[in-house]
Symmetry: C2
Subunit: 455 residues, 2 copies
């Protein structure tokens, strides 16, 4: 790497890069990492921490170029179709709609935005409902909360023709994981609140689902560009018994550094309770499109570490909310980094063969990531942050990596991680129930129906 940095034939590239400063920093950093590895990693931290730091760099580099996407999105004449998030929309059409629609009174722009009428007794309301509806328990097994996985995409066809194909594979992937783990799915294709469009659309949706489904104990939001790559890993629900909000992230990066990628809101768990309604209310104000979101974006860029200039996004807003409101929220937020509730694809996808060689499903972490999240790829839209070919090829590999764990239950596997086609790896038998299900996924313990005696 160092040689590549210093090689004469790359001089021009380096000059350009060094003017940006990133490559210089990367070279220096990698040098340090290599030295640490040589001298003795143990003395300087776990491979996981190194991994984290490199990941941060990659995530930073990917995010750095994101502004042009949101600038595109912010200009009514340009229509972008961003399926990295759920229900995107055509801004110019929305503006037309708002003008034409008689039955949706425009909100007074001076009045603060709210997700809905304030509710202060949700725990009581919900508790009473659960008592009255024992056939809809919030726990469906010992230590097994009822979970609703929520995801979605635009109601419009993708601008990129193959984009919808990847959305289809992505939802099949989620269907498979959720079927194995007894989790229900809500796939959203409706924009419920025109002001909260783009990445913010999840907030009204989540609130609506929590309030409509008191039987749901945890709502699991997952971006459409995130895929399950460990079909055997069951979320450690017990670990979160005293928490209401679980995201992948690092305490230091959020509370100390206020780093804008200190956590990720592409895959998180939110408990159905009053506290969650409150944090949704506290989270929402930076969301309304237009002046509010733009101004909020400036605040976030100023206040957070490394954040580029662009309108407020839900993830930065959450970092800010927690960093400035630690006392109010911190005790119920769990920033998880012992497994990949969200796993940045850049540092995972090239290692799948190594994982297959050395590890096995069920680990959920860097050895076999629960989730591989294709941040920045945007297969549905026109403008991604990475070369399209790299993204699509790696998305195929991640999909096949996960799909192989499903296919092996039935005696098949993909011919390679790059291939759509499957091959048989176990012959048919006249005693199918004697077949050893190696991963134990055909009838896993975490899916068995066992109603607890008390919730």
């Amino acid at each position: 790497m160092l040689e590549r940095c210093l090689g004469l034939r790359r001089l021009r590239q380096i000059q350009r890069a060094c003017r940006r400063g990133s490559l210089t920093f990367l070279c220096l950093f990698l040098t340090v990492v290599v030295l640490r590895g040589t001298i003795g990693a143990g003395k300087f931290g776990t491979p996981e921490q190194d991994l984290n730091e490199i990941r941060h760099l990659y995530a930073y580099r990917s995010r750095r170029v994101e502004p042009h996407r949101v600038l595109e999105e912010a200009q009514p004449e340009t229509t972008t179709n961003d399926a990295n998030n759920y229900a995107t929309f055509d801004i110019s059409k929305i503006l037309v709609d708002e003008a034409a629609s008689a039955d949706e009174p425009k909100r007074d722009p001076n009045a603060p935005y709210t997700l809905g009428p304030k509710i202060s007794d949700w725990d009581e309301q919900r508790g009473q409902w659960l008592k009255n509806n024992p056939d809809y328990p919030n726990f469906i097994g010992p230590n097994k909360p009822r979970v609703l996985l929520v995801t979605g995409s635009s109601p419009k066809p993708c601008e990129n023709p193959v984009g919808d194909h990847y959305l289809l594979k992505s939802i099949k992937n989620k269907i498979d994981y959720c079927r194995l783990h007894g989790i229900e799915i809500f796939y959203n294709m409706a924009l419920l609140d025109a002001e909260m469009a783009g990445f913010w659309a999840k907030l009204p949706l989540i609130r609506k689902l929590l309030l409509s489904h008191p039987e749901v104990e945890f709502l699991w939001w997952m971006d459409s560009d995130a895929m399950f790559t460990d079909m055997a890993f069951e979320v450690p629900w017990e670990r979160y018994k005293d928490s209401n909000f679980v995201m992948h992230g690092w305490n230091e990066m959020v509370y100390d550094e206020k780093n804008w990628i200190g956590l990720n809101t592409g895959s998180f768990l939110l408990r159905n309770c009053q506290w969650s309604l409150d944090i949704l209310d506290a989270w929402a104000p930076m969301g309304p499109k237009g002046k509010v979101r733009d101004e909020a974006g400036k605040i976030l860029t100023r206040e957070l570490k490394n954040r580029p200039v662009f309108e407020a996004d839900d993830q930065s807003a959450m970092v800010y909310l927690l960093a400035t409101g630690k006392e109010q929220w911190g005790d119920k937020v769990y920033l998880e980094n012992h497994y990949y509730l969200h796993g940045y694809w850049g540092i995972l996808v090239d290692r799948y063969e190594e994982m297959i060689e050395n590890y096995h499903p069920g680990l959920g972490d860097h050895r076999w990531p629960l989730v591989t999240h294709f941040v920045g790829c945007k297969p549905c839209g026109k403008f991604g942050d990475y070369p399209v070919e790299r993204c699509l090829k790696q998305m195929d590999r991640a999909y096949n990596f996960g799909d192989n764990q499903i296919l092996q239950m039935y005696g098949f596997t993909h011919k390679s991680l790059a291939s759509r086609r499957v091959k048989r790896v176990r012959n048919e038998t006249s005693n199918p129930l004697d077949v050893k299900d190696e991963l134990g996924l055909l009838h896993p313990a975490f899916k068995a129906i066992k109603l607890p005696t008390s919730s």
Copy 2:
């Protein structure tokens, strides 16, 4: 209609049509129907029967042009991507695969095709497994069997760019229905047996799933081009307690007429039992691609009423199997026509507004069809049997018709049946649990967890 038939300005069209004979027949038939309506429908049959007959005509007309599709599919140089069924494939690639693949020995073409080693004691094997696994009961409530809905599509992107978008909407539609009704989903994108490609691919898949999941009581196959349009209708499981195979169809059309559209295999229920394995084995032999399927096609065209010339398809084969084997199979086959387990789209989609005006969800029949099935549309491929625009527009309407039943749970609806956009129809409230859920779909009785005392 008669006037139109005889009008001079249509003379040339009529001459062409009359040479085919179809329009003449249609005119005559419609005349009879109108007369029957005028004179007194009650004396001549139910509106449902008339509807049936017109539907047959439409289905016949749609199927008549299907041969060119299968001829295309049969020619290795042409690649078609037919997502009307599940896992399609690129024939030329398969041929290459078969040549190149060392680990999949070619079957002796003289040996009869089989789906797998003969199993004769499946009821015993399964019964024992259920006994040993009380946490995986085959009934999940009183009169509520455990059901697995199986569907799928090609692992390749659709040739038609919007095709994958419609597959995405179609699976979302199924996710919604199945979530409400406590049904699990298996979305297949793998071709398990190269010989059984196209519409036949469902057979090896179904067998594999039945044998792998003894806890499943009923497997519900559903084509990717079929959508749920009645979210409130629960299949009357009790009605089928003595049946093993439920398809939409008419006894007379199958057993008496041997009409090739006397039943539909695009949406059916198959019980997990020895009988079902046996009928799958009896069904399969016409399927293997190539000479077998071609020759079988000729037999079916000769033996069945109105069947065009093309290779054997699974539906025709089933008509033939039942018509010639009524004593062997008939007592366990239920041909259902009291609700639309499969509903031909042609006679349903123009009536949605009338349905909304006069009826309500939960009926499942011609008043509010459970399933609207877009036979012949083929949005994924290049060649459909109907104008693409008509198909896509109607698929949007059917999707929205069903989606409105989901959205109303949350206080929203599509702005029109043609519109992707949604509007609010119920305000937010601080007492969401007091809101009347009009269709009773938020917490329906058929989804409540109630383990029976005996299965």
